[in-house]
Structures are given as C-alpha cells and as structure tokens.
Amino acid sequence: SDETGSGGGSGSGASGGSEDGPKIGLAYDTGGRGDKSFNDSAYAGVEAAIEANGGEVQELSPNADASNRADLLTQLADDGYNPIIAVGFNYADVIGDVAEQYPDTQFAIVDGTGVDVGADNVTGLQFAANQGSFLGGVAAATKSETGNVGFVGGVQSPLIESFEAGFTAGAKAVKPDITVQVQYISPAGDFSGFNDPARGQIVAQGMYDAGADIVYAAAGGSGIGVFQAAAASGKRAIGVDSDQYETVGDPALQAVIMTSVLKRVDNAVEAYIGSFVDGSVQGGQDVVNDLSTEGVGLSYSGGFIDDIKSTIDDYTQQIVDGEITVPETPSN
Amino acid sequence: MTDSAPLAVELRGITKRFPGVVANKDIELRVARGEVHAIVGENGAGKSTLMKTLYGMHRPDEGQILLDGREVVFKNPADAIAAGVGMVHQHFMLADNLTVLENVVLGAEKAHGIGAAARRRIVELSDAYALGLEPDTLVEDLGVGDRQRVEIAKVLYRGATTLILDEPTAVLVPQEVDELFGNLAELKREGLTVIFISHKLDEVRKVADSITVIRRGTTVGTADPRTTTSKQLAELMVGAELPTPQTRTSTVRDTPVLQLTGVTVAGQGARPAVDDVTLTVREGEVVGIAGVEGNGQAELVDAIMGLRPLAAGTVVLAGEDITTWSTRTRREHGIGFIPEDRHRQGMLLDAPLWENRVLGHQTEAPNAKGVFIDRKAARADTERIMREYDVRAPGADTLAVALSGGNQQKLIVGREMSAGPKLLIAAHPTRGVDVGAQSVIWELLKDARAEGMGIVLISADLDELIGLSDTLQVMLRGGVVATLDPGAVTPEQLGGYMTGAVEGSTAGAA
C-alpha cells in the first residue's frame, strides 16, 4: 500500500513507499528481543518479510514495569513507522487509543483482537492455541504409558487457560479415562509464573511423582524447570510456542522434549506484512492462525513422535474439517 | 621523681585538634612505674582526649609518647595493647548481649582462644584480684560495679602493665569505690602502673601517688596528694573555688504535689523493677532519690511520667489521680521532666533549637496555635530561653548537636521551667555538666523550689543529693529501703544504705 504514515503532524515526512519497502515498527512485550520466545518469533517474521519485500524495522522494548506501552506505539507512529506490530496481548488495552490518533497507520496486535478495539486500522493476529494444544494432548495421551499426563500453566490467564482446554480435550479424545493433572504457577495478574523455573520444576516434579509421564509446559520461562523435572525423573515433556527442542540448547533436555506446540508468530507477522505491502490489509478484523493455516501445530524435532504422525494428521484433519470443535476454556 | 628508672609513661608536647576545638595543647605527663597517677581537670579540659591518644584511639597532631623511655607510635588500640597499655573508658565499652567471657577475650583471642583455656584464665584473674566474675553471665544482667570489673579484667587479660581508668568512680557508690580502690592497691602491689581520672578530689588525694592537673587542654602543673588540699587542687583546676550545693532554709509547704501509693512496675524477670513504692512530694520540697544505678530509679521516673505501665499502685498529681493518663496529659497538667539521658530522651539532636524548645510542649503556648505549630512564636521564645538561661549558641536555628552538653542541659532546664510546672522530675540534672553550668542549674532548681515547685531529684552525685534535697529516699532492688534526713547523713552513710550494707530505717524522715 501507499498509505504513508506521517502521523500526528510530525512533519518527518517519512514515507514507506513501496519502492523502499515498508518502515515496520515492532513493539515487543516485556523481555524484548532475545527472549527465545514470541518476541524473537515476531522478529523472525519481520526479518523474513523484509527479505521478501525490502524495507526496514525499528524495534522498541517496554520499560521494566511495562508502563510505557502506549508510548512505544505513539513514538513509532510519530516517527512514521507503518505498519506497527505490537507483540503480546498486553497491548490490547492501549492499542485502541493510539490507533485512533493515527488513523493513517496500520497496527497489528499479536495474540490480541482487532475487532473489539473498534478502530478500523487494527488487525488482530490470533492463534488457535487451543487447537495446537489439542494436538499436544493427542500426542501426550497416545504416548503416555501410565494414563496420566500433566499440564503446567505459567499464569492462570485466559490465554493459558485456552492451552489447558485444548490439551485436556486432546488427551481425552484419545483416552477418555486419562488423568490430566493441571496446575498453574501463579495466579492471574502475577506474572512471576512465567519466570520462575524453580517453581516450574517443583510443580512438574509433583506431577511426575504422582504418576504422570508426560507434562505439557505452557509456562514461558518457567518451562525449562518442567524439562529439568522430566530429565530428573526420566519422563517426558512438551514444549510450547517455539520449537523448544531447538532453542533449549542442552542435549539432556532435548532428550525429554517430546514435541512442542508451535505458535507460528513469525508466519503470522510475515503474512501480515505481506498483505500490508499488497495493500490488502483491512484493519478492524482478526486474522486467526489455526491448524488450517498452519499457524499452530506440533514440532517433530528429535523424531520422538514421528511414529504417531498419522494419528496427529488425522486429528488435524478432523479439526480443520470442523468435525472436532476444540473448546477455548477449561470445562470446570 | 628521679631520673634513674625510666618513666612508665611520658607524654611530651601532645597537641590534638578537633574541628573547631583544640582539645589538647602541648601537654606534658610523666608517670613513674608502679604508681597510681591521677589526672584532674574540669569537664572538657581534655583528659579523655589525652588518654585516648595514649591508648592509640587517635593520633596526636603533635608530640611524642614514650613508654619506658622509648618512643612509640600507636596506629590503633591494638598497638597500645601490645605495648602494655590498657584503658577502661569513662563510658563502658561492653557488648550487652555477649557474655563476660566473650567481652573479656574479644580482641585478645590469640592469648588463650575463646574456650576453656580463656575461661580458666579469667577465673584466675578474677581470683587474684578479687574481681568476682562469672564468665558465662550476659553482661546485660550485671550491675555497674560488676561491669567495671569486667572492664578491668579485659585490660588485665591483655597483660597490660599500664592501666588507664577514665572516671571509674563516677557511677559508683562509696562502698564500691572502696572496693575499686582495694583492687587498685592489689594492682599496684603487682607492679602495675595506674593512670586514673576523677573529678572527686578527695578520692584522688586518698588513692593517688601523684597528680597532674589539666586546664583548658593544657597541663597547668603537678601536685603531691599528701601536701595539697582539695581546695588547692580545685583552684588549680578552675582558678576558682568549688561551689557546693547548699539548700537554703526549708520551703516545704503542706500541700502535696505528688503522691505515689504502692507503685509497682513489672521488671524483666520475676522481680518487679519498682516494688511497692509509696512517697509524697510537697510543694516547695525536693525529694532526693538515692540509689545505685539500676535499682529502679529510672523505672520509677518512667512510671511517674507515664512512660511505663504500672502493675499496681496509683499516682496522684495535686489531688488528681493521673494513674491512667498519658504522658502528654501529664505534662500538660504540670509535670516537667529533665531526663537522665538528654540525648536519648531530652533532645532531637538533628533538629534546630527552636524545635527542641517545642519538644515536650507541643500542645502548649506559645508553641502551638490550635493544631498548628506556631513556628514564629516558638522561635521567639527559644531566644528568650537562650537569653534567660544563658544558653550559648548562635541562634534558635542552630542544630542542637552543635551545643555543648552544658548548654544543651541549660536549654532543657529552661524549657521545662518555662511551662511553670507544679512538679519537676530532675534525673541527673548535672550529669556530665561542668562546674560552671552545674552551679547555674543548682541555682535554678533552688529558685524553683522556693517558688513552690515540687521536685523529684535523682542523682548519682551524693553531694548534690544531700545538698539539694529536703528528704532523701533510698532505693534498693526496686523498693524504698530508707527515708533519710539529708541534714543528718554523710555520703558514706548514704552509700551504706544504697548498697544494702546498712539496714533500712526512717531516720530523721520528714
């Protein structure tokens, strides 16, 4: 598109003409680039997009208490970046206000909704994490020998609860009488659960001690504690978001990461930038990345679940075809 | 003194400056081996400073220190200790929460470790010099006399041959002083040298072999205790006669200001700190409370001020039962308070003088106007107090910490008098105050008494107590054990009652 973003009368005259490629603004969630997780994944998507379309990127990370999210977006818009991609649902509260003030700039929010915001220049890049988690549940139940699997959630937020819902549903779909242990590390609003590997280890160890042989870690940075517990107990674990087999950087842990439930933030971001360049970005709507678009899925690194690939593909197909509807919230 | 044997200690031309003060100027001191050498001088003359120099706590700006004829340089007390110099400070340097053993061996662990060998050595020392120490008692459980013996043991344990005692008798009653002097004689017999600081000239003459007098930071001469009178010594010290507290005619009236009935205050252990004390203070009367420190006087004061809850008994002020009143209400109703430790209870050191004038009288004119503090009026009144009570300071905005102790005390006295209290609690009103300020404060107390104020006077200075009081109450282990007539009692007798050596009586009580 040729919507040039010189918002707010900045007079900078910065233009993202298609000859030069877009001037992409990227606002990270706490942690910023180098978090080995969705921030990095988003960056990878931007990189790929630049590779394909040219252009440049400006990244910004929020301060320690993330009180300046709105400022990041404002600053990027002011400096003429367009499109601007906000990484993380925590931007949901501020993105609407900023977008309203810069109607000529396109915004996207990862894990958030563009519909509810009400501004017609915000696109939600959503992920059917419950679908991916469903497959994780399928893999866990199929591979479990004890009929007992576990789910460790980082923070009891709606997002993570949708992981739980999908995982449980997937496991039950394979073995209706399977035991699924569920535990969160910290309650809603207390984000320490995403950063406390020690607690992750302890919670997971409890599950292994109680008979689980596969535990799904939807716990951000605490997940590594889950892997440690798995390694210590000789059991297995499932990673989340990125292919943690690749990122964990420790052979002992690689050996226990059976699979990871992928959330292809990179693909979504790349696709979004692509459509921005095409001029097909609408705004005010959500792009749902699900199994059908391969926005979510399982990883096969390490080859631990290669043997059940057909089962997984089978369930994938059923979900894509709508034969199975994966719940978004835990049943109880 | 002969030149044949080298002197145990010789100080030559010692000068020590502090910011704004020259504490020692060109001081000479010569102490022979095996003698008890006294140093006398008024408050702030520089005695302690000189001793701290000799003990390596700071270095002199000028001058030399010679021990046994050899020059030494002390970088810190450890050096002094190694050279055989030990010091017992004016204010005890003991860690309350450590045991006697730990206090004694601290810093000298190399000698006998901190275990059984050390304990044996302490018991040996204790027996040899009759110190009566129990190595495993916590120091906080000890009385003043015992603490001092711990201090002496500390020095002896380090094998000191020269002992410095800075005002060792200030806090002791006469019997304890005698015990101490017994200990000193013991030390002398063993060939140790003792340097000894005191304000009590009679004592000095009794125990010392020679005397050095210091005035305004410099030596003014030496004296022979056998041939010099106290009066001469005093003149050397201050160039003036010592004032003695003398009560004028009795001004006691009939109306009671304060009546304590069965006042009991819970103590740390099973024994109450104040045990069933009953006494009356009338208008125009000074009731002196004598007692060795730690026998409940402080707690009694707290009880009268409402700073400590009563376990039993009543406090009546001018006919009104104030037992349940708060400290503030008590003060508002006419109790003035000169606390024992002015830095702890009497002043805000880091606040200006005018705020210190407000302290304790926050709700009264001229300091308060409704819920507000009237800063202007308080400042003005502070300046009045400074004028009337001779508080020497640059102005009402000076920080209290900048004042000398005497001036701080005068400000407190002025502040408490300004409210025109019915009853004044004066705890050690002249402690640490030099002769000049002392006599001013005595005069103020006497004037107040003449005007009908009732005064409770607590003091460790028995002369002061006897001289100012109309009635004397002796406290021992929390109870009043004797009521005495100050006109008919000597300091020695009083000391007897205070230590329990003499059984209680109500001799000549009013």
Partner: protein, 425 residues
C-alpha cells in the same frame, strides 16, 4: 517456632509444661518436632491428603527452602556485624546472573564461583556505601536492588544478544555441565525401602518415611552444602574468635574498636560474605533451571530476610523459618486441596494455644485464639478447594500467622542498622 531463641529465666510452670518444656533446648526441640509430626500425620490421615508428608512434598520443600536459607544465612552475617541488608534480593539477582554467565562457559563449578563472586560484588558495593560512606543501610539496600536488576539486564543485553552460544536479554545459555546429586543407597534409592514404607500410608510410620526419603533422595550438591552451612555458620559465628569479633561489631562496635578489633574490615568481610551467600542462593536457582533467567529470584531475597528475622538472627531459627515457608509453599504448589487440610492443622494448633493461654489466665488471648481456631475449622469443613489467588499466598500468611502468634522474643543485634563512625559514637 524459633527454636534457637535465647532462653530467658524460665518462669515457674506446671508439671505438664515441665515435662514438655523442661530439660533444656535439645529435649524441647525434640518434643516439638515429635508433636508436630504426630499432628501433621493425624491431619493427613483424617483429611486423606497424602501430599502433606509425602517425600515428594518434602523434596519440594527442600528446593524451595534452600535458596531462602542461603539468603537468610547471608543476612545473618551482615546483620550480626551490624549492617542491615535489604539488598539481599539484588545480590541474589547478581548471583543468578553470575552463575548463568560462568555456568555456560565453565560448567556447574564455574557457576558456583560466578554466583559467589557476583553476589560478593553486590555485598562489596553495600559495604562501600554503608561502612565507608555511612549511608543508611536500608537506603543503600534499596538502591542495590534497583541497580542489580538494571545491571543484570544490561549485561545480558550486551553479552547474550547475538551470542552464538544462545541466550538473550532475559536468559543465559544453558550450563555446560550439571551439578551432581546424591541419594541414600538402599533406603532412598535402589530398593528404596523408605519409598515402600511411605506408600503404605501408615499413621506416623509412613509420614516419617516420607520426610526422610524426601530429604535423602536425589539431593543436589548445593542443598547438602546449604544444610551443612547452618551448623557451620553457628560454629563460625559462636565458636571462633572471628565470629566473636564479627558479632561484637553488631553489638557494640565502639567497644570492639577500642579493643583493637578492626571493625570496618570485619563489617566489610561480613557484608561481602553476606552478598556471596545471597549469590549462592542465586546459584541454587540457576542449578534448578540450568540457566539464568531474568526475574528468577522472584522476591526470594526479601523472603529470606523475613526468615532471618523470623529466626531471631540465629542459624537454627532462620533454618526453621525457611523450612516453614518452603513447606507451605511446596504444599500450595503441589496441591490446592492439601492447603485446605492445612486449615485443620491451624485449627488444632490454635486450639492448643487457646488452652495454653487459658491455663495461664490470659483469657482474652485464649478467646481470640479459640475464635480463630473455630474459624479455621469451619473453613476446613466447608471449603473444597481454594481459588488459585488465595492459595498462592499460603506460605506468606503462614509466616505472618506464626510470627504474630509467637510472642515476640526477637532480639536483633543491638547496633544493627546503626551507622558506625569511628570516634563518633
């Protein structure tokens, strides 16, 4: 609670009290432990919450308690030397960072050294500020907490982003080797006799087996070190001349100074040890995760400080404090329903307090305790499972409860927190 609390002169008491409380600290401690075990065991049997004494919970307790223990020991050294150390959390953060940085390059041994060094560096900074410059201890500590977080982030940002070994702004690469763990042969591993006994769920016997197995199975090397550090700290501080000197600085530095004790130097040493121990606490966290992760300490420095105060500035006491907190935390992480069973325990304990107070004639206290006991009991009977938000603060409220129940005989070092200036005392 604080079992090592100083015993003041014992007031006269009845024969029953005498049986349990007489006979010195050792016997009393034993009785208390036995009593607690019986009580907890009974509660387990009644509520059916096996997690209360399972070896798994005990192992988790150990994992949660050890970092607190290390931090609290760090606090002990500083505060016994008279320096309040509220910067422990910051030093712990530095410790985690140092462990992560050295760990990925030199393995677990390197991590230990790195964590100790970085923690010690934080301690050194605190010492410079408080001892040399005489800055208020709390202020300096708060500043160090802020600074440490910034430094860790900054160092990661400059050293890990684009580092081929991995890592990023919020985490280090993985450690290149793993610390060893130990298990008791036969009893806790191999035939695992204790494990078998534990699974029988017998009253008392299984509980004891669970506790023992929990603390002897797969125990990490740092756990062993930390546990040994408790008696070691006691011996060092109370049985050596170094310890005596150090403590004298916290009780009366002027006195120590006058005896030739190098007060400033000792305070420096103490605060540096303090930082190093806090750093070691950080290393422990890194060992669990195998990496440094930003925010890993999660306020444990503050909790460790609380354990120190809880334990009356004594090694045994702070270990008890850390243990209690760790247990409550393990329980809430493991099982939300077990936390409800804890209410039963609280009810019984409060009832005991009520009876004790009543026999002593303190009826208001007795009635208050009884009322709270009744409330706990009602809570136990009516609540199935507590919501996550409530469960999450189980350890904190437990600590607070115990502290407010235990009559306050806490005594901090007398000169703790006071700035000491030579000649300005």
């Amino acid at each position: 609670m604080s079992t090592a609390a100083p015993t003041t002169a014992a007031p006269a008491r009845g024969p029953v009290t005498e049986l349990f409380l007489g006979g010195g600290r050792g016997r009393r401690l034993t009785w208390i432990l036995v009593g607690l075990l019986v009580l907890v065991s009974a509660v387990r049997v009644i509520s059916g919450e096996q997690a209360l004494t399972s070896s798994s919970t005990m192992a988790a307790t150990l994992l949660l308690a050890v970092p607190l223990l290390l931090v609290a020991l760090g606090g002990l050294f500083a505060e016994r030397a008279g320096v309040v150390n509220i910067g422990l959390d910051g030093m712990m953060i530095l410790g985690t960072w140092g462990a992560g940085f050295a760990g990925y390059q030199y393995g677990w041994q390197g991590a230990v050294v790195g964590g100790l060094l970085m923690g010690a560096l934080g301690g050194l900074l605190h010492a410079v500020a408080t001892v040399t410059f005489g800055v208020d201890h709390v202020i300096s500590g708060v500043a160090i907490n802020i600074l440490a977080a910034g430094v860790a982030r900054f160092l990661s940002e400059t050293l890990y982003v684009d580092n081929p070994a991995g890592g990023g702004v919020t985490q280090s690469p993985a450690m290149s080797s793993r610390p060893p763990t130990f298990s008791l042969p036969v009893l806790s591993s191999g035939p695992d006799l204790l494990g078998k006994v534990e699974d029988l769920h017998w009253f008392l016997v299984s509980d004891l087996a669970g506790v023992l197995r929990g603390v002897t199975n797969g125990v990490g090397v740092l756990t062993v070190v930390a546990v040994l550090l408790v008696p070691a700290a006691y011996l060092l501080l109370w049985r050596t001349s170094f310890g005596l000197r150090l403590r004298s600085c916290g009780e009366n530095p002027a006195a120590a100074d006058s005896l030739g004790v190098p007060v400033y130097r000792l305070k420096y040493i103490a605060v540096i040890i303090s930082g190093a121990l806090a750093g070691l606490g950080g290393v422990f966290l890194v060992f669990i995760a195998n990496i440094y992760r930003e925010g890993q300490t999660n306020g444990r420095g503050f909790i460790g400080l609380a354990a120190l105060i809880f334990g009356n500035w004594r090694p045994g006491g702070l270990a008890a404090g850390a243990g209690l907190f760790g247990f409550a935390d393990a329980l809430q992480l493991r099982s939300r329903t077990a936390v409800v069973a804890l209410l039963l325990l609280v009810a019984v304990l409060l009832l005991a307090v009520a009876v004790l107070q009543a026999t002593r004639g303190r009826f208001t206290q007795a009635i208050t305790a009884a009322a709270f006991a009744a409330a706990s009991l009602v809570g136990y009977l009516s609540i199935q499972e507590l919501p996550e938000g409530i469960v999450s603060f189980t350890p904190h409220i437990t600590t607070l409860l115990v502290l407010s129940l235990a009559s306050q005989r806490l005594r901090m070092p007398k000169a703790d927190g006071l700035v000491y200036r030579r000649g300005e005392h």
